[in-house]
């Protein structure tokens, strides 16, 4: 817990970088999430809808941001998580999911970290951006 006691604004959370987005992953996420929108898995449908190819579910990237948080703190420490979907993620893109502490807030008996969350591709294009509020583990008395 030492790392949390000295935590300051600017600290980076360990990055989560899954394998490049594949059609298999989109098919698995379609089934597992229950989001059966064909735009994410059926190329024929996507073309008929005027897009070149299927693209990833925004919520798949948000799930990866969840991994960034739960690898850093126990899940019950997450008070909130909010994202804005900025751009479509395409098949073959390698997405880097990260977090950075914006500020550490001390209020009453609690210490909270406000964390900026981002998903970007290898060119640095922003796909998702958001924020989480994390209850930091208390130091031992």
């Amino acid at each position: 817990m030492k790392a949390f006691e000295s935590l300051q604004a600017g600290a980076e959370l360990p990055v989560f970088e899954p394998e490049p987005v594949s059609r298999l992953v989109l098919a698995l996420y379609c089934g597992a999430s229950g989001d059966h929108n064909p735009i994410h898995v059926d190329t024929d449908y996507a073309r008929a809808a005027g897009v070149q190819d299927v693209f990833a579910h925004g919520m798949l990237s948000m799930a990866w941001l969840g991994h960034v948080l739960t690898r850093w703190v126990p899940q019950h420490a997450i008070r909130s998580m909010d994202v804005r979907f900025a751009a479509i993620t395409r098949v073959g893109e390698r997405i880097r999911c990260g977090g950075r502490v914006i500020e550490v807030v001390e209020q009453a008996t609690e210490r909270l970290a406000r964390v900026a969350l981002t998903c970007t591709n290898e060119q640095g294009e922003l796909k998702l951006e958001g924020e989480a509020l994390i209850l930091l583990p208390q130091e031992a008395p």
């Binding site: 229950g34 989001d35 798949l60 799930a63 969840g66 991994h67 909130s80 909010d82 994202v83």
Partner: protein, 152 residues
């Protein structure tokens, strides 16, 4: 334009059971690195009473409700012009495999930008468990794009 009298409208609540197989499937689909989310023994060893529902899976459970198109139908939204603009979660308690969660959605707000070219609908859903405990609030923002020349 979407009728703003629907601001505050409550949709029919519904309950969804959290199945462990779905959680394991979700862990696989999202490249979950932590065995706690797919292996009961690891979950128990970490002090959980079952496989935990990961942070964003509540959104998927809400989609498992009897009519995931309820808001679209209520507001008369054309599926082709919709985008998922934002998603938020406020957490109050953990949920686990075996829980039965109740989802109570309502239309929190309806607004527009760019002279009505873009319209926004925010749905907020209160989630509680079988013991009545408040688990989370989900906030889903849909963006409705009105192509130039199309009648809204």
């Amino acid at each position: 334009m979407i009728d703003k009298r629907f601001i505050g409208h409550a949709l029919e609540p519904f309950s969804v059971a959290v199945e462990p197989g779905r959680l394991r499937f979700f862990a696989k689909a999202t490249s979950q690195p932590d065995p706690v989310y797919a292996d009961e023994a690891a979950a128990h060893a970490a002090g959980h009473r079952g496989l935990p529902v990961p942070p964003t899976f509540l959104f998927c459970l809400e989609m498992d409700g009897p009519n995931p198109a309820a808001v679209r139908e209520l507001l008369g939204l054309d599926y082709r012009f919709l985008l998922h603009g934002e998603q938020g979660f406020r957490y109050h308690a953990m949920a686990y495999a075996g829980d039965v969660l109740t989802f109570a959605p309502r239309i929190e707000n309806i607004w527009d930008k760019k002279g009505g070219m873009l319209e926004f609908v925010a749905r907020v859903t209160r989630v509680s468990n079988q013991a009545g405990a408040h688990v989370a609030d989900l906030r889903f923002v849909t963006v409705v794009r009105h192509p130039i020349g199309a009648s809204a």
